[in-house]
Assembly symmetry: C2
Homo-oligomer: 295 residues x 2
Amino acid sequence: MKVGFIGLGIMGKPMAKNLLRAGHSLTVFDILAPAVKELVQAGAQAGENPQDVARRSDVVITMLPNSPHVRDAALGDRGILKGIAPGALYIDMSSVAPAAVQEIAARFAEKSVEMLDAPVSGGEPKAKEGTLAIMVGGKPEVFEKAKGLLLAMGSSAVLCGGIGSGNVTKLANQIVVALNIAAMSEAYALSTKAGVDPDKVFNAIRGGLAGSTVLEAKTPMVLAGNFTPGFRIELHIKDLKNALDTAHEVGVPLPLTAQVMEIMQALKVDGKARNDHSGIVQFYERQSGVEVRRR
Amino acid sequence: MKVGFIGLGIMGKPMAKNLLRAGHSLTVFDILAPAVKELVQAGAQAGENPQDVARRSDVVITMLPNSPHVRDAALGDRGILKGIAPGALYIDMSSVAPAAVQEIAARFAEKSVEMLDAPVSGGEPKAKEGTLAIMVGGKPEVFEKAKGLLLAMGSSAVLCGGIGSGNVTKLANQIVVALNIAAMSEAYALSTKAGVDPDKVFNAIRGGLAGSTVLEAKTPMVLAGNFTPGFRIELHIKDLKNALDTAHEVGVPLPLTAQVMEIMQALKVDGKARNDHSGIVQFYERQSGVEVRRR
């Protein structure tokens, strides 16, 4: 299949390489030349801009930081919409606001181009392995058509509902992850300052109702004081902003998400925005004057 | 062993029965006669008051609602301290404030009586099965002496640190559970009102970093609108009050725990305090005018 790929960042680059490995003919674009060069060396062709990439592709994929970047690549002066042919398919795999996706899809529909939103979870390691979890929104028949392509980049692709549903699901995921990390942080800050080894707490509670993937994945990082990302706080801030914006648009107050957002903002002010999101515990360490560490 | 057991409520009654089954000679007390009668029919002897129970036992166990009840049973006019012999052992298995336990232990130490705090998790079903998870605070040599007795009621008994550590660990557990339920609730309220089936969201996110025992155990209840306890909101309120009191004493601000406490208070005002704690989702349902249900 002739595939276009726009956005060769930490996530996009390995995803594009997996499409090449799966035998697709790939045209790529990024505003940074070195990333394009790397993909060309791996067998891709370089497009001049999103419009040019779209002109040369049956399916166009974007993997960009946030809604404004996607809107610009899709609808801008040299955007995908200007180059894409009626009957082609546009898949945005960025994590963005669901409303932005729905607005873009409506514009593409006017030109008889179907769209899916298909954000991912799993981070850089799973992008490299091609084992991302892909959450998809769109029409079932369009999803079926795209499924094989998506599974070249992920180990699962789940249709969650109509266009925008992939990103709603991703936002739900990011809310749970942020709050589960904050929950762990409050529990460990309390127990540490109350004189109980957090490693003992971990082992005592992990097997019960308090058990979680966050507890298993992030406790070792917290107890070692290792906040190497992983997933950066600044990116989680972006996702929670989209979650809160979406929640307020549809009419759902999210008091805890709002609070963990402010905690992340405090960490950003404190110069820690590029730490792994398990660094949420550093807010509590600073507030309470104690370090949560294995003794 | 001659064991005394004070507090034959939902948890204490099956725990005491498991001690009888394990072959211990049991003297029991409760302010409610029917519970005592049931244990006597099962083979226990009835004590007149905590002092009398203590006089007739080598080990005394309390399983009571909260710190004031334990303080009264332990240190009151007809309390355990008045009847217990030097060299005997007192184990409080209630979920209470760590500071209360430490204060009581100091009083018992004056009479050369060792104390452990050993709160449990698992609820009524695991109390009946004898498979509670028991979190213990106290001296290692005292723990070793009591371990066999504890394992007649639980499938695990973990020493977390000095006296009070069992309850610190229990409070850490309750913080994580409450916040993980609230996290799930915010995620499902948002996705439902944004038009995405929460069951689809559950299946899309459960395998990733958002996965948790809370998500697995409580999603089916939430999607069915079934809030039969389980663990009642009013009991979780008690635990979070102890968590916040302890946190403020040792000097740790817990903004998210404070917020989920207020959410539970709102549910209490709304007449829902006796629902299962998965009923936290009902706060969001009311606020946003949407029901989180499987479609």
